[in-house]
Amino acid sequence: MKNRIKVYRAMNDLTQEALASEVGVTRQTILAIEKGKYDPSLELAFKIAKRFDVKIEGIFTYEG
């Protein structure tokens, strides 16, 4: 699943570590999500979207 987490992190001047800490996961998980290797759970996806104050569709793109 494609995502724009890196873009939003840059816009908010947020490191992977900081974002991970805020949404309750490890930095490795954020890294894996950004690289498209791991698809987050619904809960985590909502947490990330809420952090950047955008809708889920604004960050994640489903390629079904």
Binding site: G24, V25, T26, Q28, T29, A32, Y38, P40, S41, L44
Partner: protein, 145 residues
């Protein structure tokens, strides 16, 4: 309990079980083997219970949980098939042995292993039922009719 204290406790338990095993080898009489088995199970249960008491802040990361689940599942699947093949091979070998004492010993060992493998399936089925109920696997509504 701090995480470091848990690791120390787990190490002490591991060393204790190793000592019991060494004692059993030296004692070499009934009920040494049974005591070893009980000590291993008791040690594992104790470590599991101690792990629940760790109160350090730990992030339960969903990705790591997923990785652990998939790794455990694949490991059990491969191990089960491999162990079954080994057990059947041992049983076949036991049937061809002429010495009745050795034949009996190997047959008992193979049967014990087969019972152990069957127990794994039963435990797996029990957990499947438990987690299916927990996560709504058996739920029905008006659309189920």
């Amino acid at each position: 309990m701090k995480r470091d204290n848990f690791y120390i406790s787990a190490s002490v338990i591991g060393i204790a079980v190793a000592f019991i095993f060494w004692w059993a080898v030296l004692y070499d009489r009934y009920p040494a083997a049974q005591i070893v088995a009980i000590s291993v199970i008791a040690g594992a249960c104790t470590i599991y219970l101690l792990r629940q008491r760790i109160d350090d802040t730990v992030i339960v990361d969903e990705m790591i949980s997923t990785i652990n689940e998939k790794s455990a599942m694949k490991t059990i699947q491969i191990f089960w098939v491999g162990f079954l093949a080994l057990t059947i091979s041992g049983f076949s070998k036991a049937m061809s042995i002429d010495n009745p004492r050795i034949k009996d010993m190997m047959t008992r060992g193979s049967v014990s292993q087969l019972i152990f493998l069957a127990s794994i399936l039963l435990i797996y089925a029990a957990f499947r039922i438990y987690y299916s109920r927990k996560y709504g696997g058996y739920e029905e509504d008006e659309e189920s009719d």
